[in-house]
Structures are given as C-alpha cells and as structure tokens.
Symmetry: C2
Subunit: 126 residues, 2 copies
DNA sequence: ACATTGTTGCAACCCAGTTGCATTAATTTT
DNA sequence: AAAATTAATGCAACTGGGTTGCAACAATGT
C-alpha cells in the first residue's frame, strides 16, 4: 500500500528530492531533512513512494540503495530506464539524462531495468 | 592484490562457478562448496578473483551481491555487459546470453556497466 | 468533537559483509 | 629435505543498512 495521508514529513521528503539533481540514499535523505526524523519512518516513506511509482530505487556498488524521482516512465508500456552513474573514486551517484533503449528479452515478463555505469567522473579525472 | 597461491578452497570455488549456469551469492557459494569453509575466507577469495578479473559482481534488489565468471570482456577496449535478470517472485538470478550494446556516455571515463532486468520468469508465470 | 486508521518513534533485531589477529599451509630459499 | 617466508584461513567480534512489533500520535471523514 502506498502513501495515503499528506504528512509534514512526506512533504519535506518530496521537497528534498525535487531540490536534488542527484539520487539520494536513505542516509543522505535523513541528513538533508530539516527536522529530525526517525530512520524507520524514512524507510517506510521511501517504500510507499516507490510503491506509488513516485520514486525509483537502485543498488550501488557498496550495496546501498539510492532513490530518485521518476521522470515519466509511468505512461506504461515500454520498459524505460534512465541510467545511473557512480564514480568509483568519490562514490558520487548521478543520473544520466539520455534515455537508454534496451532490447527486451523474450524469456521473461520484464517490468523494469536498472543500468548502472561505473568509472571516474570529470572532477575526479582532472 | 589478487590471488597468489593455488589453494584447495580456491580450486573448489572455481569448480562450483564453472558448474553453475547462474550467478551465485556468497551464501549460495558457501552452501555449494564440498568442504566447510569460513565465510570470511569466501568473501576474501571472491574479492581477489574479482580483482583479477576472473569474476564479475553485481547487486540485486535485495542488496545481495552476486558473482559470475567473466566470459570474455577481458580483451580490453569495449565496455561490455552481459545483462542479468532477477525474478521478483522466486528471486532467482540468471544471466542473459545476448550481449547488450550500450551507448557510452561521454561525461565520464566509464569502466563498467551493470544491467539488471527484473520481472517474472517463465516458470513463475505459468 | 469523535471515531477511525494511517503514520511515527523507539528499541530491538536481522543479516550481508568487514576486520584484527593468531594459526596454518603454500611457495621460496637455503 | 629442512627452514624461512608470507599468503591464506578460521574465529570472533564488529559495522551498518535495513526491518519489525508495538504503543503513542496525528490526519481525515462524519
Ligand atoms: Mn522513471
Ligand atoms: Mn564479463
Ligand atoms: Zn568522482
Ligand atoms: Zn521466478
């Protein structure tokens, strides 16, 4: 079951996501929230928002889950995936703007795809 | 630093990987090994094998790391990625045989890509 | 205002993965 | 072959992301 009631915390969570250009982990979100919020509460909000399709999540190399606002995959049919990138030096996670079109395997009923590029970001290269 | 000495455990680990068509988690590997092996040892062997490029790893939705033998990305240049699939019902993880060709973003020096499809496998559908 | 029920905080818990250290075993040197 | 060297192993304690049961609280409908 997704979000039902519009609570203060929920509004703040959504505001933090909108103001961030990058995906966030639960820990980063906790630190970014203006009020002190219990971590259980944060995890439960994230679960519900994902249930509702408002956010997507994906795992990074350090087995930490990151979350980002969904930007329009909701329309249904196609399995869309905007890819993500993690810098192996500074560990920062970011979105790739370009949509990636993937051939969908026939062997199963695919409902989502996660693409994670890794390497070194510009600032870590220079 | 990668593997240096050819120990009994290491041979058994490689044998298990060769006999398995699917990627394995550390837990699955532990259970598949003929001898009782300490989990720290297993994790350390996996680390070293990945350092050496013998195996690749990727995270699944339940934040569990899976490992699979590298099948020929070693030749260098191209960022190759054979995609993986996890069934959301039975949680089984498998490889997709078809190589996936991805446009490599210019914004960073990409060294690897992970692609994880999720959905329902054939047997869970029927 | 009241009843209903979703949400929150708390504390305890789970589990994948890590780490420090003493012991063991593979490889090199003599 | 024996000794020396050092990588690999087992163990136990630990870390940290994430979960869960439950009582207290707060949003929503009437
Ligand atoms: Mn989306
Ligand atoms: Mn490979
Ligand atoms: Zn970086
Ligand atoms: Zn299945």
């Amino acid at each position: 079951m997704g979000v039902v009631r519009k609570t203060k915390h929920l509004e703040q969570v959504l505001r933090v996501f909108r103001q961030s250009s990058d995906p966030l982990s639960a820990r980063m979100l906790l630190d970014a929230l203006p009020n002190e919020v219990n971590k259980s509460t944060v995890y439960r909000m994230l679960d519900k928002l994902e249930d509702d399709g408002v956010i997507h999540s994906f795992m990074t190399l350090e087995h930490i889950r990151f979350y980002a606002l969904c930007k329009g995959c909701s329309s249904g049919q196609r399995v869309d995936s905007h890819a993500h990138f993690q810098c192996t030096s500074c560990k920062r996670v970011s979105c790739f703007s370009d949509e990636i079109v993937l051939p969908i395997p026939e062997k199963a009923r695919i409902t989502s795809v996660q693409v994670l590029f890794t390497g070194q970001c510009q600032s870590c290269l220079s």
